[in-house]
């Protein structure tokens, strides 16, 4: 298959950066996800790898070969578009066969490979209908088939689930991931949906403002976000972030509550804030737990709202405006609006960030 390297690749439109200089290596057979809000440069990066977009500077290597300025058709890559890009006036079979015909592959071989990929994606029943008549899910399957049939070195996918109706998205997500497991083809997948990124990515490149914020496995990106942007972007709702004071091992909430920082964090915080100073405490909704009886190290809050999410409930607690934190609770917890409660934090999942640099404070041992 293929390893793809981006060396100091950047893209500028006039004065402003669409993609700031970045280095990225996509390993052979890896499923790498480019994740970020719209306008963060993820699609431009993908299009530069495909050659549909020119590079302002830097170089792109495919299996060690410099392809920076080579025409997309010579890069042996397949591109799956968000809006399917199927030729509207050709039947499904012609659409799938087309890339092979363009490479003058003999007719018998074309038919064999088309049938093989059509069986793989179970779209035998669609072969002679027009793309326009298909459901969005089927259209995307045909688009995948057209990409697969060429057995390219790498697959580039630009938000393929973006245009699908809600109930196709879950099934197609699993199907694409399963296809990747079968073919173990190097894939670069662009999306703005962080759930898709977590579910599919071997590794995730979180981007924002034309810059790479963090590259890591779903676990790293979820549990150890590199900065506030990643902390807030990953997870729905994102990580709770509260700005407060830190002194002698205690975090002081804006309203004065004191929370004793877990022992293993103390050295890192003392060093980072040299003793004391402003810091941002971060914790995931599932790491908070509403306690019934008053034990030590709990935080006071009033119930701002609580809502049911099917398998669990989500409590929105006011810990002193402007902060409302979200705590996950089991199904049948029911609190009245404005009721006073107190909650504790799972020490293993507590995180801290520098208020100015917005970077995460790292503990030494891991």
């Amino acid at each position: 298959m293929a390893t793809i390297e981006l060396i100091q690749v950047e893209k500028k439109f006039g004065a402003n950066y669409a993609v700031k200089p970045m280095d990225l290596t996509i390993r052979d057979g890896e499923f790498l996800v480019l994740l970020g809000p719209s306008g963060c440069g993820k699609t431009t990066t993908l299009r530069m790898i495909s050659g549909l977009e020119s590079v302002t500077a830097g170089c792109i290597k495919l299996n060690g070969r410099d392809v920076t300025w080579i025409h997309p058709s010579q890069r042996d890559i397949a591109f799956v578009f968000q809006f399917f890009a199927l030729y509207p006036h050709m039947t499904v079979r012609d659409n799938i066969a087309f890339p092979l015909q363009a490479q003058q592959v003999p007719r018998a071989e074309v038919n064999r490979r088309v049938d093989e990929v059509v069986k793989l994606l179970q779209i035998e029943h669609l072969l002679n209908s027009r793309p326009g008549a298909l459901s969005s899910g089927d259209q995307q399957r045909v688009s995948l088939a057209r990409a697969l049939v060429r057995r390219p070195a790498a697959f580039l996918m630009d938000e393929p689930l973006g245009a699908l109706d809600a109930d196709y998205r879950e099934t197609m997500r699993a199907e694409i991931k399963r296809l990747h497991i079968d073919q173990h083809a190097t894939s670069v997948y662009v999306t703005h949906d962080q759930i898709e990124a977590m579910a599919m990515g071997d590794r995730i490149v979180v981007m924002s403002a034309a810059m790479v914020q963090q590259v890591g496995t779903p676990a790293e990106v979820y549990y150890d976000p590199a900065n506030l942007f990643v902390a807030r972007f990953i997870g729905s709702p994102g990580m709770n972030l509260i700005r407060g004071q830190y002194e002698q091992g205690q975090f002081i909430f804006p309203r004065g509550d004191r929370y004793t920082v877990p022992a293993n964090w103390r050295p890192a915080l003392d060093k980072a804030l040299n003793g004391a100073g402003e810091v941002i405490l971060g914790f995931r909704p599932e790491s908070g737990k509403v306690e019934v009886q008053q034990t030590d190290n709990l935080i006071k809050a009033e119930v701002y709202a609580s809502d049911m999410h099917g398998g669990f409930s989500m409590l929105h607690l006011d810990v002193g405006a402007p902060n409302v934190v979200h705590i996950r609770a089991n199904r049948d917890t029911d609190f009245l609006m404005g009721e006073r409660v107190h909650f504790g934090l799972d020490p293993a999942m507590v995180r801290f960030f520098h208020p100015q640099s917005e970077l995460a404070i790292r503990r030494e041992e891991n």
Partner: protein, 332 residues
């Protein structure tokens, strides 16, 4: 509300992307060649217009130069000749007139063309007729057109499709076919050769166009705005006035201009339904050529005065040209 940290990043969203196949040196060269050919073709297609402008301002004696002169000292002889009645003067009368102290600018212009101004020419009044008739008929056709366009756009009227088809097909009729019966009707009603007669006819002629074009514009205004106004306590008519009209202004302006152009350019009806009193410019222009022999600069100025407003307005309308010439059917 959780504190949200403002996201840094490029303020202007990056939208424009240049496809690599458009960037390769070969295609850039092809692009430039295309641009040059297009520009040359455009200039060639406008040579006739440039030539008319030149002929309108060339003095009479240089009109018949062979080869046709390009560089000359422009003069208003053509223009003044067009708007005035004048007589050729003999050499002696010409000399005597020259040193008459209180010569007006107009007299002096005609003098060096060897002519004396006698009175104003009919063309001026025909231009006025054109303006009055085109203007009045446009106001009426846009007014009625707007009301009907709104009704067709917002309500599903039984048989609306056929009704709209009927309205459009009246515009497809060859003018000559309709003129014969109207000529007889107007003669018996005393509407022949009257301003009101032609205004009404042009109103109907433009009405089908303005209904279709305005319906296209109103269709683009989301219905939710009016419905929100209804729910907020306004009647349908008030919602139309306060919410739909302000948003349709550009559409109304574009339609008005199109109607003006069509009424201004119309020739067949004017030729057959007017003779003297309500005569507009188009049927009058050929008659100028008939009378004069070689006063080309006069004819060219007549043509020029008539075309200049249309050329200017076309530039103002360029965004809506596609819509205009296809009755609002094609809008992209």
């Amino acid at each position: 509300m959780t504190t949200t940290f403002e996201q840094t990043g490029p303020r202007t969203p990056v939208v424009e992307s240049i496809r690599v196949d458009k960037l390769s040196p070969r295609s850039r060269l092809a692009g430039r060649a295309r641009a040059i050919i297009a520009t040359v073709l455009a200039l060639i297609s406008l040579i006739p217009v440039f030539w008319i402008i030149r002929t309108a301002f060339i003095p009479l004696n240089e009109v018949t130069a062979i080869p046709p002169k390009i560089i000359f000292t422009p003069s208003l002889e053509g223009l003044v000749g067009l708007l005035t009645d004048d007589r050729i003067l003999s050499e002696s009368a010409l000399a005597a007139k020259r040193n008459d102290p209180n010569l007006s600018f107009v007299d002096r212009v005609m003098l060096n063309a060897g002519r004396e101004v006698v009175g104003s020419s009919p063309y001026a009044s025909q231009l006025v007729n054109s303006v009055v008739i085109a203007g009045a008929s446009t106001i009426l056709s846009v007014f009625f057109g707007l009301l009907s366009a709104y009704a067709f756009s917002r309500f599903n009227i039984p048989g609306a499709g056929d009704l709209l088809f009927f309205i459009l097909s009246t515009r497809m009729l060859p003018p000559v076919v309709v003129t014969i019966p109207i000529f007889l009707m107007y003669r018996s009603l005393g509407l022949h050769d009257t301003h009101i007669g032609l205004i009404l006819l042009y109103t109907v002629f433009n009405l089908s166009f303005s209904v279709w074009l305005l319906k296209g514009f109103i269709d683009e205004i989301p219905r939710e705005y009016e419905e929100a106004a209804l729910v907020d306590g306004y009647t349908r008519l008030q919602a139309f006035r306060k919410i739909v009209l302000p948003q349709a202004l550009t559409g109304i302006a574009a339609t008005t201009v199109f109607c003006l152009i069509f009424a201004w350019n119309e020739y067949a009806f004017a030729l057959m339904l007017t003779s003297q009193n309500a005569r507009t410019a188009p049927p009058a222009i050929p008659s100028i050529l008939g009378s004069g022999g070689i006063e080309w600069n006069t004819i060219a100025s007549g043509v020029l005065i008539f075309l200049i407003p249309v050329v200017i307005v076309t530039f103002a309308l360029r965004k809506y040209l596609l819509r205009g010439v296809t009755f609002g059917a094609i809008r992209k």
